[in-house]
């Protein structure tokens, strides 16, 4: 078990610390053990194990139908697992569901809202369901301001634009100040301004000690924000590592060249793509550049243009799970 020291910021978000008899440790934000979920004959999750530590900014990626939303619904208690168990901040989502749910804030993927109330009322109700009263109003105001909803705080939910509804939806998940926040594709179909505002606010929460779990279609967001990434495919986790390690181990660098002659046969094994005199070579290490240049020099093939591209998370994603056409995160 990974040992973490108590940080002052943890107290700010009301984390619960668990202790054993020999040494103190902080419970994992999320601990998933052997989870399977069947819908009739279809097996949506096939034995998923995952541990996310407190304070992490974690990405859960995978193509549509990989099982991400099923896993999130199991975390939230909206679905019951076929087998296995899940703990949130040390509390089992089945047997100790009240504490587990109190520790969790989930932003649903669908744009849902209650048409009877305004934004501030909805946030207060949501906090109230979790036992938070007027003492929580300052936090509700902070969320409203942080997500740019101040002007709309007294506007009825049904009168908000799509982007504003999305902000209100995110605010609802944060209303009770949960230590673990799950964002299920929060930026789907929203403008750049909201995305930047949202990520600035979420990063601030993460710095204060909140654990963030993110699923997104925008892989560059996951690459920029998340320290660790899990990639799912057909109900299984196929990759789980730090973003940096995944980029290093799975993604090749790309060397794009425009040549004055034919590509020498020694370099054919590196060829990834060719379009006329333009070739793209896949390199596993930077040192291979020198070898490529040397072979071209010996073959008297002149280089008219050259570009070296770093691999990104999309390359890793396509490499691991994106063999199917139209794969998405």
């Amino acid at each position: 078990m990974k040992i973490k020291s108590n940080s002052p910021s943890s107290d700010e978000v009301g984390f619960r610390f668990l202790w054993d008899s020999e040494r103190s440790y902080v419970a994992a934000a999320i601990e998933i053990s052997g989870i399977t979920k069947r819908f009739g004959e279809f097996e949506a999750l096939r034995g998923v194990d995952l541990r996310i530590e407190q304070g992490e900014f974690f990405a859960l990626l995978g193509p549509n139908g990989a099982g991400k939303s099923t896993l999130i619904n199991l975390l939230a208690g909206l679905l019951q697992p076929t087998s296995g168990n899940i703990r949130i901040m040390g509390h089992d989502v089945q047997t100790d569901y009240q504490r587990a749910r109190s520790a969790l804030g989930v932003v649903p993927q669908e744009l849902v809202f209650d048409p009877f109330f305004n934004v501030r009322e909805m946030l207060r109700f949501q906090a109230g369901y979790f036992g938070r009263g007027p003492e929580n109003d300052a936090w509700v105001d902070e969320v409203i301001e942080g997500l740019g909803l101040t002007d709309k705080a007294h506007t009825n939910m049904r009168k908000l634009s799509g982007g504003m509804k999305r902000r209100a939806l995110i605010a609802q998940a944060l209303a009770h100040k949960p230590p673990v926040i799950v964002l299920d594709e929060p930026t789907a179909g929203v403008d750049v301004e909201l995305r930047q505002m949202l990520w600035a606010f979420i990063q601030k929460l993460n710095q204060q000690g909140h654990t963030i779990i993110l699923t997104t279609h925008y892989l560059e967001e996951a690459e920029t924000l998340c320290e660790r990434v899990a990639m799912m495919k057909q109900g299984r986790i196929v990759a789980l590592d730090t973003t940096r390690a995944l980029l290093k181990s799975h993604a090749a660098k790309q060397l794009s060249l425009r040549l004055a002659g034919a590509l020498p046969t020694q370099l054919q094994s590196l060829l990834k793509q060719q379009n006329g005199d333009e070739v793209v070579l896949a390199l596993s290490e930077l040192s291979q550049v020198e070898m490529v240049l040397s072979v071209l020099r010996e073959a008297n093939v002149a280089i008219q243009d050259m570009q070296l591209q770093e691999a990104d998370l999309e390359d890793v994603f396509l490499n691991l799970v994106g063999n199917q056409k139209g794969a998405q995160a």
Partner: protein
């Protein structure tokens, strides 16, 4: 705008342990209060139209109990009918709307337990039903004198009836997936049972076969027991009505709690 929130004096006083159920109850109450024209005023008007039309047409033709005019006889029946229909409508419409619009997820994500969920929806439904019933009584007093011989029975059957239909509404709201299923439930179950329960007549005026059929209708016992509280006369003993209504309430509450606990149609 404090009048929009009748709870402003209570908000600071509720302990965190009870705040979840209190908030849900408050939200359910405000939900119908915000559209009071539709949820309170409209059923009162409908009941008064029934009262005016039926009493005008039948007052001189129908005599049910000695020394009780037909118009006075109608008032408790119309009160109870509206009370039952509105208690049912409150919980059922709130749940089906939340399910169809998807915002039920905000409730399902919370630590509110089965009993609290049930209690909050039930209490709000009962209050709407009682509010409509009481309003009809107060407005009817402008037109006709209605005695209250046994107020205890009136209160007991008003509470039990609103609780029974509030519970029935939660069950229907959980079961129905679409608005038309809910409309079918209302039009083919609730409406016939209320209209055929003795709202407009005493079952003693029916042929023996239909008297026997009426006694299989639990709504009959709610209305008859309620009316007994006003006039001291009923078609059956109020104790029998109490036993039937109480048993039905316990059975439906048990079923409703079981559905909620298992996550039927809410958590799969």
């Amino acid at each position: 705008m404090k009048w929009l929130n009748p709870f402003f004096w209570l908000d600071d006083k509720v302990s965190p342990r009870w705040r979840g159920v209190y908030t849900l109850f408050k939200k359910e109450l405000l939900r119908f209060w915000r559209v009071a024209f539709q949820t309170i005023a409209s059923p009162i008007l409908t009941a008064l139209l029934y009262l005016l039309i039926f009493s005008h047409v039948l007052e001189s033709h129908v005599k049910v109990y000695d020394q009780v005019s037909y118009t006075a006889f109608l008032v408790p029946g119309l009160m109870m009918m509206s009370l039952l229909q509105n208690a049912f409508a409150n919980s059922s419409s709130s749940l089906i709307q939340s399910k169809v619009m998807g915002n039920i997820v905000f409730l399902l994500l919370t630590p509110i337990n089965t009993l609290e969920f049930f209690a909050a929806f039930l209490a709000a439904s009962m209050i709407r039903g009682l509010l409509v019933g009481l309003s009809i009584y107060l407005v009817a007093l402008c037109f006709v004198s209605v005695p209250t011989v046994y107020p205890g029975w009136i209160i007991a059957f008003a509470l039990l009836g609103s609780a029974l239909l509030g519970t029935f509404g939660i069950i229907a709201g959980i079961w129905a997936d679409k608005f038309d299923q809910m409309a079918a439930f209302q039009n083919f179950v609730i409406m016939p049972l209320t209209f055929l329960s003795g709202v407009f007549y005493s079952i003693h005026s029916l042929p023996p076969f239909w008297q026997a059929v009426s006694q299989l209708n639990p709504f009959f016992y709610m209305i008859d027991g309620f009316r007994y509280g006003f006039f001291g006369h009923g078609d059956v003993s109020p104790w029998l009505s109490l036993a039937v209504v109480g048993s039905f309430l316990l059975a439906l509450a048990w079923l409703c709690l079981k559905m909620l606990k298992s996550g039927y149609k809410l958590r799969s």
